[in-house]
């Protein structure tokens, strides 16, 4: 919402001691956010009134003229192509240094002294569109320059002074007005300023209706939708231009002047926030009825569009048909035409929600609808009426009221709120004296009565705040606090109340897992959207089993929401492969499935299955697939130790659809599958745009993991006697599994109790190894708990291990 300071000052005299910057600051702090403060006059700097003394032909151009122009004490030669130039005419001259838009289009340019077709021109004589004034000085013929002859300004006078454009325009963030419909319009803000600074506010003289010749009736069929309808039939009018000051004000705050009748309705709306509407009463057959539309009833608009209405829409109708969509817009019949000399002025109040729905249904969020949908105070009709009638009388000397109706079936009651002063002091953290509270609230239009021996107060809310805005003691507290000034309350420390230290295992586990993956495993955390692109689903989960979807998705291709983090992660993989060859990513977020509907909070609520997952991918060259898989496996194997959760094991139970034919495992916790670990199948990889690279993936249901009660480690005494690392390389059948080798070494009791550890070192297949075989290197840690071993004892222990391996899986020693 744009506001003119000059206009605000019609209603509240702001002393010079309150600077504009302070006013904007105080309004922002206490009332509404002032987004911008613009000096209107500044955009006309360097522009003056010029009087054309003589017009000479341009020696080098037929269409151009040389204008000898008096710009105040000196006469300059200005080249101009205007078609309406005349000697004696007063024009707007942009002197060198002023900023204009050539022919009203493109970026603003700064005027310089320049030669135009060989003749030096001092600045330029402007068309209205070139200096941003087209709406005030419209023209139809090209190259029409602004004629200022009617303004009686002396040559050389600054243009902003001649046109009285020295004003400040405040721009208010409309969001900050959401709950304050009373602030729409200059009068509403003026009222707030008068309260903030304790200044007197101008009042409107109530309009006193006179006896009329003709009496038309207004019938309100649905008083729950239309609270009040004032209709005034006014004759003796004509369609003409309104006075410059009115046009100028309308233009300053962002609307376009049209003609005097329409301008009055817009001016009143901008002044007091009450939409008003005037329609040619010759088009109205009989009387006015405010009623629900009939199903499929048609309404023709002025722009030729025809609306199809429903029972939900409220219309203004005459005896024959609907003429306008109530509170939203007028129809073709319901307008001011060039021939109009008699109108019906409508000042009405409609219920907010139905206006919003109607405006949304017909895609017509008009200026009127925007105001009505916030909920207006029907009492506001009185000041709108007063101002409207005053303006009609001023603009049209032959104006005559021929009909008047004020149908006000639902009189708005002032809200009343009881507030305890002790409660107020406790909530504010400060006790403000009762007389001060009363003064502040009175300035805002509230009426205060102290009750209960001065301990409580009953606050009567002004009508303009009684439309739902103020109804609770908390609302009164806010009024007091903002008028007192939020900044004037001393900062208070936050009281602590120690009961116990915070101990949230699940929360800590979630963080522990992320930090483990990021810092220890070298993976980068990413975030992706919950809605998944179709191409990735086709590649990863082609049947979309159990997936939920959005009814109005971001795009038709992003209808489904994720049941796994894999699609988002693989999209990121394919995109990052443009820049990187080897990398590791992970994401931790919720996934969703259509099932398990329940809610632990409210038994009426049924929420679908939502689980927090962690999903990781390690990407590298195709030839490294085995290593990538083993890295991924290592990450899961070590996760329980580093993140302090219950242990995880692996088994092949159910192959994920996206996994490699062979290289896949399920992750098991307490005998339940809680995730998977696998190489990406070639088909899935290709479908996700991953070519010439391999990717090992894991996905884990974090909600299924159990955090240990605290950081859990087991202390062992450091060995008293030496230990030896003893590596054994065996040539084995390629199909032999490490697990079987490991079991062969560890499952039987070690009679001497010398084996302290067995670990996998390496597996090798290649040129030196026969086809169908592989070399496996394992490491024994050999040591006694009671003595230092001799080398013969160590060799004998290793020999036993080799024999056991040979017996279990065959093969022979390599080294």
């Amino acid at each position: 919402m744009k506001l003119s300071l000059d206009w605000i000052k019609d209603y509240v005299k702001i002393p010079d001691s309150i600077e504009m910057s302070r006013l904007a600051y105080d309004l922002t702090m206490s009332t509404v956010e002032v987004e911008n403060v613009a000096d209107l006059g500044a955009q006309f700097s360097g522009m003056v009134v010029g009087e054309i003394k003589e017009i000479l032909p341009h020696p080098n151009a037929d269409r151009l003229r040389l204008c000898e122009t008096d710009i105040g004490g000196e006469t300059k030669e200005i080249v101009c192509g205007g078609t309406n130039l005349a000697a004696g005419m007063k024009v707007a001259v942009a002197k060198p240094g002023a900023t204009v838009k050539w022919h009203g289009a493109g970026d603003p340019v700064v005027i310089k002294n320049a030669k135009v077709r060989g003749i030096e021109s001092y600045g330029m004589i402007c068309a209205s569109s070139e200096i941003g004034l087209f709406d005030l000085f419209p023209f139809t013929e090209e190259a029409t320059i602004v004629d200022l002859s009617a303004f009686g300004a002396r040559p050389g006078a600054p243009l902003s002074e001649a046109l009285e454009l020295d004003d400040v325009i405040l721009e208010i963030d409309n969001r900050s007005l959401t709950n304050r419909p009373d602030l729409w319009g200059h009068y509403g803000i003026a009222r707030e300023i008068s309260a903030l600074y304790d200044l007197p506010l101008a009042e409107f003289t109530p309009y006193a209706p006179q006896p009329c010749d003709r009496s038309f009736t207004v019938q309100i069929d649905d008083p729950s939708r239309c609270f009040r309808y004032i209709g005034v039939e006014i004759g003796g009018l004509s369609v003409k231009q309104s006075p410059f000051k009115v046009r100028s004000r309308i233009w300053r705050v962002g609307m376009r002047p049209i003609n005097a009748i329409v301008d009055i309705t817009n001016y009143v709306m901008l002044a007091v926030g009450q939409p008003t509407h005037a329609f040619d009463s010759d088009n109205i057959k009989g009387h006015i009825t405010v009623r629900r539309a009939r199903d499929a009833e048609k309404l023709l608009l002025l722009n030729g569009r025809e609306l199809s209405l429903s029972r939900e829409d409220l219309v203004i109708a005459d005896d024959e048909a609907s003429v306008g969509l109530a509170g939203v817009m007028g129809g073709a019949k319901d307008s001011v035409l060039p021939t109009t000399d008699r109108v019906i002025l409508e000042i009405a109040d409609f219920e907010a929600i139905s206006i919003r729905r109607t405006a949304a249904r017909h895609e017509a969020r008009t200026e009127a609808a925007i105001r009505y949908e916030k909920g207006l105070d029907p009492e506001r009709g009185d000041i709108a009426l007063s101002l409207s009638m005053k303006m009609f009388a001023e603009f049209f000397s032959g104006m005559k009221v021929t009909g008047f109706r004020d149908n006000y079936p639902n009189k708005l009651e002032r809200a009343s709120v009881d507030v305890s002063l002790d409660w107020l002091a406790s909530r504010l953290g400060k006790r403000i004296e009762s007389p001060d509270i009363e003064k502040m609230l009175t300035r805002l239009g509230f009426a205060v009565t102290f009750t209960n021996g001065g301990k409580d107060m009953r606050v009567a809310v002004p009508t303009w705040r009684s439309t739902g805005d103020v109804s609770l003691p908390d609302d009164i507290m806010e009024e007091v606090a903002r008028l007192y000034g939020f900044e004037n309350f001393e900062a208070a420390p936050i009281a602590t109340s120690f009961t116990s230290a915070i101990n949230q295992r699940e929360i800590d586990m979630d963080r522990g897992i992320r930090e483990y993956l990021a810092f220890r495993c070298g993976m980068q955390e990413i975030f992706s959207y919950p809605w998944v692109r179709g191409e990735y689903l086709d590649a990863i989960f082609p049947n979309r089993e159990g997936m939920l979807s959005i009814s109005a998705p971001p795009s038709p291709d992003e209808k489904y929401i994720r049941s796994s983090l894999l699609p988002g992660l693989l999209k990121s993989v394919s995109e990052n492969l443009r820049f990187f060859g080897e990398f590791a990513l992970f994401e931790s977020a919720q996934v969703f499935k259509d099932g398990d509907y329940s809610s632990p909070y409210d038994k009426r609520e049924f929420l679908p299955c939502q689980r927090r997952n962690a999903c990781g991918v390690i990407v590298g060259a195709s030839g490294e697939a085995g290593v990538l898989f083993r890295r991924a496996k290592g990450i899961i194997e070590w996760l329980p130790r580093y993140a302090h959760i219950e242990s995880l094991t692996f088994a092949q139970r159910e192959k994920p659809v996206w996994a490699d034919a062979v290289v896949w495992l399920n992750i098991i916790s307490n005998d339940a599958a809680v995730g998977s670990l696998a190489l990406l199948s070639k088909k899935t990889a290709l479908g996700c745009g991953i070519k010439n690279s391999a990717a090992a993936v894991f996905e884990l249901d974090i909600d299924a993991l159990k955090p240990l009660p605290s950081r859990t480690n087991k202390f062992e005494h450091l060995p008293e006697y030496p230990r030896t690392e003893y590596d054994i390389s065996m040539l084995l059948d390629a199909s032999v599994k490490w697990e079987d080798v490991y079991k062969a070494v560890t499952s039987k009791k070690d009679p001497e109790n010398l084996i302290r550890g067995v670990s996998f070192i390496d597996e090798y297949r290649g040129s030196q190894i026969p086809e169908g075989k592989k070399s496996l290197t394992l490491r024994l840690i050999i040591g006694s708990l009671t003595k230092t071993l001799t080398s013969a004892e160590i060799e004998s222990c290793a020999g036993t291990v080799i024999k056991r391996i040979k017996k279990a899986v065959g093969g022979e020693l390599r080294n």
């Binding site: 009332t31 900050s176 908390d474 309350f489 208070a492 963080r511 980068q524 409210d602 049924f606 929420l607």
Partner: protein, 345 residues
């Protein structure tokens, strides 16, 4: 002869200890003990000497040879130990090897910074689900039945679950506030908790607008709490995030679920409050809404508004990270682009 030996001993010892490198020492060794060396030269003169003195000369020569040999050996060891383990021309300017490349998302980093700060002030951390019902997203929060945010325009309702009302109508949560009621319902007063999470809005995206973004809510509900204590809380959080004292102001603001409501601004860190393009020349940047929970919200959590009040703030994590680092496009956060993410350690 003795003088010769003495003189050779003195000069030899000096030369050995003066040698700086193994090569230099080899040269010294050759010049003292080699075939053309000084000691050999002396020995060559033995035949010319008085035969009775020859054994004594021989003894002295051997003694000197021993002394030199020992000195050279110990000097060799000295030089070896003082030498670099690699080479004299090792390039110290070559970069070191980097540690593992992984890292947390900048929003997670910010979230953990805030978690640490809030926990130090006695707040619990609460996590809830992304899909919620209209009951919690709107009804409990004092949103008018016809509030525009309920319409499809702003909220992602779930297909097949969008026909009903209240508990039957499901959506990706449009804000976090609804879940605060879930916490209030399942815990005992007084309450002091934070609630980080991702929210979803059906919006047209651009550099400043996203459909998925992160919020961080803090809520205190207690028998006594004034908004000026809330201001202290906000100041301490921001100074942790930005590493210095940040001016904070609270001004009037409106949100359905708070009464009174505030817009909370912080002093622009780019210009120091004098006005610049980042703060739209006002010196302040709007960072979060806040306020006391609306009585109707407290009632939804079965709390008596006459007894309880509180303080609530909702921090836009994306915006806070953008301000912290000068990130100019919010869409980068969900882009999964390593070139972006690796900038944040």
């Amino acid at each position: 002869m003795k003088e010769k030996f003495d003189s050779l001993k003195a000069s030899g010892e000096e030369r050995i200890s003066a040698a700086k490198t193994i090569a230099e020492l080899q040269d010294v060794k050759a010049s003292l003990l080699g075939k053309q060396g000084a000691l050999t030269d002396i020995l060559k003169e033995i035949p010319k000497a008085d035969p009775s003195l020859r054994p004594e000369i021989g003894r002295m020569a051997n003694e000197l040879k021993d002394i030199f040999t020992k000195l050279i050996d110990s000097r060799t060891e000295e030089i070896r130990l003082a030498d670099s383990a690699i080479s004299a021309d090792f390039d110290l300017t070559a970069p070191g090897l980097p540690p593992l490349e992984g890292g947390l998302h900048p929003i997670t980093q910010m979230c953990y910074d805030l978690n640490d700060t809030f926990r130090s002030m006695g707040f619990e951390i609460f996590q809830e689900s992304d899909i919620t019902s209209e009951l919690y997203a709107f009804d409990n929060l004092n949103f008018a039945p016809d509030h525009p945010a309920r319409e499809n325009m702003d909220t992602y309702w779930l297909a097949g679950h969008d026909a009903g009302r209240g508990p039957d109508r499901l959506a990706l949560r449009p804000h976090l506030t609804g879940a605060s009621v879930r916490y209030l319902q399942t815990h005992k007063p007084p309450y002091r908790f934070v609630y980080p999470g991702r929210v979803y809005r059906n919006e047209t995206t651009d550099a400043r607008h996203e459909r998925a973004f992160f919020q961080y809510e803090a809520l205190i509900v207690d028998r006594e709490f004034t908004f000026s204590a809330g201001k202290v809380m906000i100041k301490s959080i921001l100074s942790k995030v930005f590493g210095r004292d940040v001016p904070v102001r609270m001004r009037v603001g409106f949100f359905p679920f708070v009464e009174p409501g505030y817009e909370i601004d912080m002093g622009c860190l780019v210009c120091g409050g004098v006005g610049c393009s980042v703060c739209k020349h006002v010196g302040w940047i709007e960072i979060m809404p806040g306020g006391a929970p609306h009585p109707n919200v407290l009632r939804a959590a079965n709390l008596d508004p006459a007894e309880f009040t509180g303080f609530y703030v909702n921090i836009g994590l994306d915006r806070l990270v953008m301000m912290r680092y000068g990130v100019d496009d919010v869409r980068l956060f969900h882009g999964g682009d390593l070139r972006f993410l690796r900038q944040f350690k």
